[in-house]
Amino acid sequence: MSTTTASTKQIFGIVAEFDSASDLYHAAEKVRDAGFKRWDVHTPFPIHGMDHAMGLKKSWLSGVVLCGGVTGFTTALILQFFTQVNLYPTIVQGKPTNLNTVPAFFPVTFELTILFSAFATLFGLLIFVLLPRWNHPLFESALFKKFSDDGFLLVIESKDPKFREDKTTEFLESIGAKAIERVDA
């Protein structure tokens, strides 16, 4: 068990390594029950049920995607009806220029719905996870590099209202962390 020596820099958080996916899963349940809010786990592969163990609520991203899709849908219909029916009625293939011509507008409507949904997904996600950014304090951590190999890591950030460096370190040790590292901000 090793803890880093006190640093003069401000602290970003604490990284703790666990032995297995199973240990990490149970540790996550305990961290959740202890009432921490600003924390995360990093693993080499997705662990089923981790959302539940971490107490994560359903993401708001699907709501953003729905708004994007509805915007795309209405944009396409308004664009086509306004230009092709109201502004400059265009007869193609002998099709009428009124509400009955709506099937002709469906392909564009379909595509714009998907395009706007995709944009909403991408940009919504980027905003939610605060990307892009140049660097992240965790990249300075030696322990963190193991997350893409064989490390099952749990990180508690110092911004968490319940975070106290000494007490949180002790807490992580008590729930079975096999290595702990302090990460500078």
Partner: protein
């Protein structure tokens, strides 16, 4: 991890006892079917024809559910899926009922039913009879004409030989080549005329074909496919192929319940990949033969996919309801969780979209291109009362309603909500199959006089009830044999603990 289920505790499986329900369904279905055929035999030709459409409608409704069951079983094996092991036996049982539907399809072979449904049968028979008459009638005239042709060829050859003999004597080398070639060509013409004369039988055969071609060029061009012998062969091929596929998969699956030998698991996977093309061929051509050929002049290349999309969607809806009913009756309570509901709900949403995509593509291409031989199908269905029917049941009912509701994640995890949607989808499938078959009935049987046959809607319902009862009986029969889930499948663990 805590709370994980151990497949060893579930290895004994669960037996389902249908009890009295199986026999109630059999009696109800058989009773309704007997009544249906009594009415059919007592009715006049036109109403019996209308009832043929009723029977086909009921058959296709339930056939599509069973074919969907076969598809999900095949897909489950071919894609090596793990989530649905606990539901797979229900898919296999649903697919096996296809044999019941095929037995019930045998009345379609009776000329009274067959000729009313597929006009090309009587049309071909009529043209053939006419062609024989035509051949008898025209034989003498054609022979006289051919003999005259032969004589003309002979005379011209003789004349040429005489003329050339004199010319050849004083011809140069170059001229000789030319004259000899001319002579050879005239000889060739004579040979052709001799061959064309032929026997009486040969001339008759030729006259028949000419008559066929001139009477109905579409049927003539399709004669390689749309002929009685090949059609009957295909009829039995579809039954054998579809039931054969699901028979073997279910057989191996039940075998593996006893021993848990992984060789069955591997065999099913390999076989499923080979069966998929056979399955696709059988179902696609079945719907070409039984549904698209209701109007033999019409065609759509989307037809097979359209019917497949409806089948896959609605058998998933049926499976959701079946699972819920079984759980309510006390079976599969620990084995199937809300996660399985969520997964099946997602597939229901995916296939709702897929169905709409295919249905719209078919409509859109035909509507926009506006080619006479293609628009006929939609012309019937987009005019008169069929127009509001299409918009209400297919556009709004079949797509927009389930699509909007299924988008919400929470609903897919609530059995009551997902069952309501599945039930709604099955109801819309009723209207979809009705819309495919029935608009053809009035114009066909009354030669364009009337859109509907009065009173036939009641025989539609009676036929549906008959087939529903016998379908239910078949399903109960297969459910009652073997465990309700493959209890020794190597990946039961994965399916029991699935999280998504």
């Amino acid at each position: 991890m805590a709370g994980l289920k151990n497949a060893d505790h579930y290895a004994q499986g669960e037996k389902f006892s249908p009890g009295l329900l199986k026999w109630v369904l059999l009696m109800g279905g058989a009773g309704a079917a007997v009544l249906f055929f009594i009415i059919a035999s007592a009715s006049g030709e036109q109403f019996r024809g209308a009832m043929a459409y009723s029977w086909l409608f009921a058959l296709i409704y339930f056939l599509s559910l069973t074919v969907g069951g076969i598809f999900w079983t095949l897909l489950h094996h071919a894609s090596n899926s793990g989530w649905g092991i606990v539901i797979r036996r229900l898919m296999e049982n649903l697919g096996s009922v296809v044999i019941v539907i095929f037995v019930l399809a045998l009345p379609l072979l009776a000329p009274g039913f067959r000729d009313a449904l597929w006009e090309w049968f009587p049309e071909r028979a009529k043209i053939k009879a006419e062609a024989v008459e035509h051949a008898e009638h025209e034989l003498a005239a054609r022979r006289a004409q051919l003999t005259e042709n032969l004589k003309a060829a002979e005379t011209s050859l003789l004349a040429m030989e005489k003329e050339n003999a004199a010319a050849l004597a004083k011809a140069t080398e170059g001229e000789k080549v030319y004259l000899n070639a001319e002579l050879a060509a005239a000889k060739g013409r004579l040979e052709t005329a001799k061959a064309a004369l032929g026997s009486d039988e040969e001339i008759k055969e030729q006259l028949k074909y000419e008559h066929f071609k001139h009477s109905n060029v579409l049927l003539y061009k399709k004669k390689g496919y749309l002929n009685e012998a090949f059609w009957h062969f295909r009829f039995f091929f579809y039954g054998a192929a579809l039931f054969g596929i699901i028979y073997f998969l279910r057989h191996w699956s039940i075998k593996s319940d006893e021993t848990g030998d992984p060789k069955f698991f591997r065999r099913m996977r390999r076989a499923a990949c080979g069966f998929l093309p056979l399955f696709a061929t059988a179902w696609t051509f079945l719907v070409f033969d039984w549904l698209m050929a209701l109007d033999y002049a019409w065609f759509s290349t989307m037809w097979g996919v359209y019917l497949f999309a409806g089948a896959a969607l609605n058998s998933m809806a049926f499976l959701i309801i079946l699972v819920t009913l079984l759980r309510r009756a006390g079976y599969l309570k620990e084995v199937i969780t809300m996660e399985h509901y969520h997964l099946m709900g997602k597939l229901l949403l995916a296939f709702t979209i897929f169905w709409a995509y295919i249905a719209f593509s078919q409509f859109f291409l035909i509507w926009y291109a506006n080619i006479t031989e293609e628009t006929k199908f939609y012309l019937t269905r987009n005019t008169d009362f069929w127009n509001p029917y299409s918009i209400a049941f297919l556009v709004i009912g079949h797509f927009f309603v389930p699509f909007t509701i299924l988008l919400i994640q929470g609903f897919k995890k609530k059995p009551t909500v997902i069952c309501a949607i599945a039930g709604w989808t099955l109801l819309m499938h009723f209207f979809d199959v009705y819309w495919i078959i029935i608009p053809e009935r009035g114009p066909s049987l009354t030669h364009g006089e009337s859109l509907i046959i009065p009173g036939a809607v009641w025989t539609d319902l009676l036929a549906w009830i008959s087939v529903a009862g016998l379908f239910g009986f078949g399903l109960m029969h297969f459910l009652g044999k073997g465990s309700l889930y493959p209890c020794r499948d190597p990946r039961l663990d994965e399916s029991l603990n699935v999280v998504n």
